[in-house]
Symmetry: C3
Subunit: 329 residues, 3 copies
């Protein structure tokens, strides 16, 4: 596959798709965060909508079901004044024998402007942006184990808003790193934005073998890994992994890697606790921590809308050729 940045950027380096945080410059990631910051302030007004995507058609293409993520993109699109079409792909024309590419070409022919794509195959969003519908802005809402860049960017925004900056911070990511597209996108963004150290904490079976080449430091012992951290990011445990014998049991996992007040005490006293949700209380995290003073989990949700608005607005702007855009009568 081509370098994602020749696909997701315009010739003058602006975003036209949002596929991955990997390889994006510090300037561009910072622009996303600054734009999202401005949308947080519009969210807090009585009228939350802005007209940036008025008259545009956004299609939610979720090949993998996720009510949570689909809803946040739907709200982000509506607050940008876009029209949104939710397609339940599993029940649509593809089941009538049509190929996926024909489905996408048809949606493009309906003058769609943007596809929000979630797919269980790594690289699906990249493939669509490069090979199938390059003139439709593609936003990756999670592809296989590869990337979940809007989640990573809302996490960056959370750190910046609660710790002032990402530069110089020690960040620990805890749990099933191996299967986590979120962790991959976070590590790239954290490295680019100047985190002092990115640690990944989990059992050996759930840490990728190439983790050090990504610039992260592996820890098998949670207390050691949390020492002096500014930020603790818990991952969601995919229960189906346990059935595959990659993990002993929920109870055993919680004992070793569940975030408790006792373990959190090893991090800095003002460390913040993050989780992409939905949380499994008592599996990855105990309620006293999830609902405690250091938790910013619900703030992440709020910032998630703003970050999605930001990348949607930026990618649409990058797609637009300077055509006549006056309003029809």
């Amino acid at each position: 596959m081509t370098d994602p940045n020749t696909v997701q950027l315009t010739e003058d380096g602006r975003l036209k798709h949002f596929l991955t945080t990997e390889g994006l410059s510090r300037e561009l990631l910072t622009e996303i965060l600054d734009t999202a910051d401005s949308f947080i302030s519009t969210q807090e007004r009585a009228v939350k909508t802005v007209p940036l995507l008025r008259g545009k058609t956004v299609v939610n293409l979720f090949f993998e079901n996720s009510t949570r993520t689909r809803s946040t993109f739907e709200l982000a699109a509506k607050r940008l004044s876009a029209d949104i079409l939710n397609l339940d792909i599993a029940r649509s024309a593809t089941s009538k024998g049509e190929t996926l590419m024909d489905t996408l070409w048809n949606l493009e022919a309906m003058y769609s402007d943007m596809f929000v794509v979630r797919h269980s195959d790594s690289g699906a969003a990249h493939f669509i942006a490069e090979q199938v519908t390059p003139n439709v802005a593609i936003i990756n809402a999670g592809d296989g184990r590869h990337a979940h860049p809007t989640q990573a960017m809302l996490d960056m925004l959370t750190i910046r808003r609660h710790k002032g900056d990402i530069e110089g911070k020690i960040v620990a990511i805890v749990g099933d790193i191996l299967h986590s597209r979120v962790a991959r996108s976070q590590i790239h963004a954290l490295r680019t934005l100047g985190a002092a150290e990115v640690r990944v904490i989990g059992p050996g079976t759930l840490l990728p073998s190439d983790i050090e080449s990504m610039g992260a430091v592996p820890y098998y012992d949670m207390r050691a890994g949390l020492a002096d951290c500014d930020v603790v990011i818990m991952l969601r445990l995919q229960k189906e992994r346990m059935q595959n014998a990659l993990l002993p049991s929920e109870g055993e996992f919680f004992k070793l890697y569940g975030l408790t007040k006792e373990k959190l005490a090893f991090a800095k006293p003002d460390a913040i606790v993050m989780h992409p949700g939905p949380i499994n209380r008592g599996v990855e995290i105990e309620s006293a921590v999830a609902d405690g003073d250091q938790s910013v989990i619900l703030n992440q949700v709020s910032y998630g809308i703003a970050v999605r608005m930001a990348v949607m607005a930026m990618a649409m702007s990058g797609q637009q050729t300077p055509v006549n855009s006056e309003e029809p009568a």
Copy 2:
């Protein structure tokens, strides 16, 4: 549980949630009806939308499926220019092990302004408004056997528009009173708005034992109960109750309590006939009555949109703090 009116009213007595008709003052119920009246006139214009909830996010949270009621709230929200998110709770994150409270907190964090809640547990809407998300306006769209206040208020509006006033009228409610949240909300509203007499008609097994303490007069014989009535409200028969042997059979029920022209003749000649829908023709009501001159059943549907617009607009107004609400650029 706290007195619902300390929950659903602001300190200066305005609506900020709409949980129940019980305990609301005659002035407030009348304000709802007056506001709904004004929305009936906007519904009859070529452009039916008004901008009162522009930029607001309304979430339809139906834990119990009801296409009819959900659609009326969806239309009401759209005609107020709100953005609406329909969540099929049964298929969403709660099935991923997330608690209901976490789901609600997440929706609140997405800057939702209003939840329309339908739930099979009595008190669910009250609990959410008081304990979970007090800063989100909660509209009760039916909770267990407890209340269905928007249905009751559209019934009040129907009586007022077709009989001039509720004051002094004799109203009979017929059918399964015991299991009916609609009947409970109607009785409270009718009593507060000055109905001369509220009668409930049904078999002894389907009349609550405390019915007289609610201010209603029980009748077991339908013809006696209908005598001199101004308004006849038929309830929908829940067929599953019959399977539980609370009722002998549909045929037997219809013979005793089904509304026929013959039985209706015992009411006043200008009595109106109401039903919350969907109607079971030949079970609660014969077609000659449902489609006859005295039926206002379809008018109720029209007024239902206006009443929902009214309580949504009033509750949103009650929630709003005097913040800067100018429109973003």
Copy 3:
């Protein structure tokens, strides 16, 4: 049933429903195409929405599932600025024992302005327009084997835009004519708009016995039927027909009636190839043709939105009485 044109036209001959192309005048069909042409140009602007149906409520009533067609109507309605309610009829109140007519009356009472109806019974849209809700504009989105008029009109628009005019053209329709509502609507429109010859090509079992009375010429041999054609319209093969032994096998069908480059060479060199989609590659059409220079299949999809916008706008205009339409405050 009444003559559809006494139902679908106003007294002065304007559209107020869109049920069938049969019997519509050349002038009216041309007006639809001209209006659709104007919407193609609005689709190509940066802001694709026009305010023609602002404040109107359109209900998608799909008794037969079709994600593709439903989505195109949803997008068309949104681009006209209408509010749209998607009803999954199979799961709605009709399953609670309510009759179809009660469901429709209820939707009408909610001040709906337009129903887009798809139904497996021939005549369903006509019946609703004439007998059930005559004051709601009905758009037929496919009824049984009878008609699919918006599909036919987008096909006419495709021919006009790519071949200059329909007048004088030789058009072949290939496949299962017998079960095709699309073919029926196409033949009527092509004859009215002055096509020189309409040919239908297929096995004897799949050509209706009255085809010549409709003004079409049957061909059993595809190469003979394609000779000198300007336009080749492939129909979608309904695979369930084959299970009913009306067809020998997919392979056999493709050999005789599948469109290949070899067979297409019998048509005029500049003939265009059309298909209503979704296409079955290798069954009705080979990929070299579907994706080839003569294919206008994806253009049809684009024009489909514009044609639907046109008939929705025209029917709504035909419904409107000259009432006070100023905007509410």
